[in-house]
């Protein structure tokens, strides 16, 4: 999905080239902090005649690393850049992006993938096109 690609590029640019991967941890996750994100769902509305309406895509974004200060600083940078964004994101055009905190019972997938007790900061991202 083009939006996934553009989101990866956008987030990497905000973090001065730190690793940003979709659905998997970066090969070198010792370069901290790093970002992994997952597309949880994408819904395209249809108008009555079949023309496309709004497309809403939801992501879970996790920033992880061994330095908690660096992780939280990176998370804040991404939240600020993404929340309320309108317009071009690479080749995609978005009508709005909205960041919200995860529920308290959200389990970071980055934690499940390693046994090193990494720090993580997570948020959910909704993009409407």
């Amino acid at each position: 999905m083009q939006l996934d690609i553009d989101l990866t590029t956008f987030m990497s640019a905000q973090l001065s080239g730190k690793p940003v991967e979709q659905n998997k941890l970066a090969e070198d996750y010792t370069t901290t902090p790093a970002v992994v994100f997952f597309r949880s769902d994408s819904t395209e509305d249809l108008l009555l005649n079949g023309d496309a309406g709004l497309t809403t895509t939801n992501y879970d974004v996790e920033i992880y690393g061994s330095d908690i200060d660096a992780v939280e600083s990176a998370a804040d940078t991404l939240k600020t850049a993404l929340h309320g964004k309108i317009g071009a994101m690479g080749d995609s055009t978005i009508l709005g992006a909205f960041v919200s905190d995860h529920a308290s019972d959200y389990v970071p997938k980055a934690d499940l993938a390693t046994d090193e007790g990494l720090n993580s900061s997570t948020f959910s991202l909704q993009i409407i096109q």
């Binding site: 108008l47 009555l48 005649n49 079949g50 023309d51 909704q126």
Partner: protein, 144 residues
């Protein structure tokens, strides 16, 4: 003729602002068309000797039709056409077409209501109300 089951998806609403029969599809109808809600006036024809009351149908009020459109002030096909009709109160002709295609009879009416709704995370829409004049248009013509 046997029943053909139909759902709303794929149904289109055509409009001829001049009131003739050259219909152009309104492409931005969001999720449904409601009405016209035609109602017949009832006249009581009961006389004293009748055990059961009797009634007859008199005039039919064709009512109104409502639908929502995706509102875009730069959209010449739908938004601008409907806002112009609203401001002029011109009687246009309308026709519902089902996939097939099969059409209802056309009906006449003017745009009597136009209400826009803007919400942060939802499509900007406008609810359009047509006051029907004459027949409500129910009834299917032959396939086009």
């Amino acid at each position: 003729m046997s029943l053909t089951k139909r759902i709303g998806y794929g149904v289109t609403l055509g409009c001829d602002p001049t009131g003739a029969s050259s219909f152009t599809t309104l492409g931005a109808v969001v999720d449904g068309i409601d009405g016209p809600d035609a109602k017949t006036d009832k006249v009581d024809t009961t006389i004293l000797s009748d055990k059961f009351k009797t009634a007859a149908g008199a005039q039919i009020d064709p009512g109104t039709a409502t639908f929502k459109i995706a509102y875009d002030p730069s959209d010449t096909d739908t938004t601008q056409k409907l806002t112009a009709l609203h401001q002029s109160s011109a009687v246009a002709s309308w026709q519902v077409t089902y996939p097939g295609p099969v059409t209802d009879n056309p009906f006449l009416g003017f745009v009597a209501g136009f209400k826009r709704t803007i919400e942060t995370k939802n499509l900007v829409v406008a609810e359009v109300t047509i006051q029907v004049s004459g027949t409500a248009g129910y009834g299917t013509t032959a396939a086009a």
